[in-house]
């Protein structure tokens, strides 16, 4: 199954249309797409507008590959579950987003070997042809780097040094490693 997602905020018809047309040409019936507030109605693929975080996670975990906008929610979730992800960046000039940060995100994460990239709808079909062969690195941890977590924890607790309130473990029902993520 290929899971297509445009993220939570804005539609991304340019990507959805390209995938829908590719699916039609190749008689693919194993594609499920979350398309947001799209104006374009897919003809050849199964689709919904929105998914809850739980449904989203299920779709990611069940997918052989993910095709998404170059948004961090999609990328981080795919990496966390070790599912290969192909991204296409949104473009500000087409009013698909506020600025071109997704282009930089896509390029940087590609350099890091974390994502596959189709820069636009013209590059997408050739990448989709190989979608079943896409690879991914080792799954990332379910939480931020230890360095960042300890930096934030140290900052937070310094405020309460005078109260000596730290009681590790006393109130934690969601310990590290098992916490729920979108």
């Amino acid at each position: 199954m290929i899971f297509v997602t445009v993220g939570h905020q804005m539609p991304f018809d340019r990507m959805v249309r390209a995938i829908d047309e590719w699916a039609g040409e190749h008689n693919r019936n194993d594609i499920f797409a979350q398309i947001g507030d799209a104006k374009y109605t897919p003809q050849c693929i199964e689709w919904v507008r929105t998914l809850t975080p739980a449904e989203f996670k299920q779709r990611v975990q069940a997918a052989d590959a993910i095709v998404a906008h170059a948004g961090m929610g999609s990328i981080l979730t795919a990496l966390q579950y070790g599912v290969p992800i192909l991204v296409m960046p949104r473009t500000a000039a087409l009013m698909e987003t506020r600025n071109d940060h997704q282009i930089a995100t896509a390029k940087r994460f590609k350099e890091m070997g974390r994502v596959h990239v189709a820069m636009d709808e013209n590059e997408l079909p050739a990448m989709l042809d190989q979608v079943s062969n896409l690879t991914t690195g080792e799954a990332i941890s379910s939480q931020a780097s230890p360095e960042l977590i300890s930096a934030l924890a140290a900052f937070i607790h310094r405020a309460d040094e005078k109260h000596e309130t730290r009681e590790p473990g006393a109130t934690i029902s969601d310990p590290p490693g098992t916490s729920k993520h979108l």
Partner: protein, 153 residues
Amino acid sequence: MSIKRKPRVLAVASGGGHWVQLRRVAPAFEGCDVTYVTVEKSYRDEVHDARVRIVLDATRWNKLKLIVMMLQITWIVLTSRPDVVISTGAAPGFFALRIAGILGKRTVWLDSIANVEEVSMSGRKIGPHATLWLTQWAHLAEPDGPQFRGAVL
């Protein structure tokens, strides 16, 4: 103050990647009394150990919604009386940090990892007002901030 209590943390993020990143730093809130502020009701499902307050989902493209959201955020900051306000962006976090700053609270702005080439516009505006201003890319760190102290992956 002789009463022992846990630090109160107000953790603020809009939807999508901002929320995912906030949840990835959640282990830093261990031992804290945490209130999340976000924009999607369904995100409540994945938080079991903290309160979740929902505000209007507004970007700087919609001024009226922004004003309503700013009032909601102001109310939440006033009533939740946090010791620390932390945000991964975007607009709700910007307002929360601004108001918290005015009230003398300690604040953290963690700029999104999506901002690879430059710090976000919100980050550039709010960062200098934050007690701790962080970027997730070492090459974006500067002597006067933001600092680099690791990333969400």
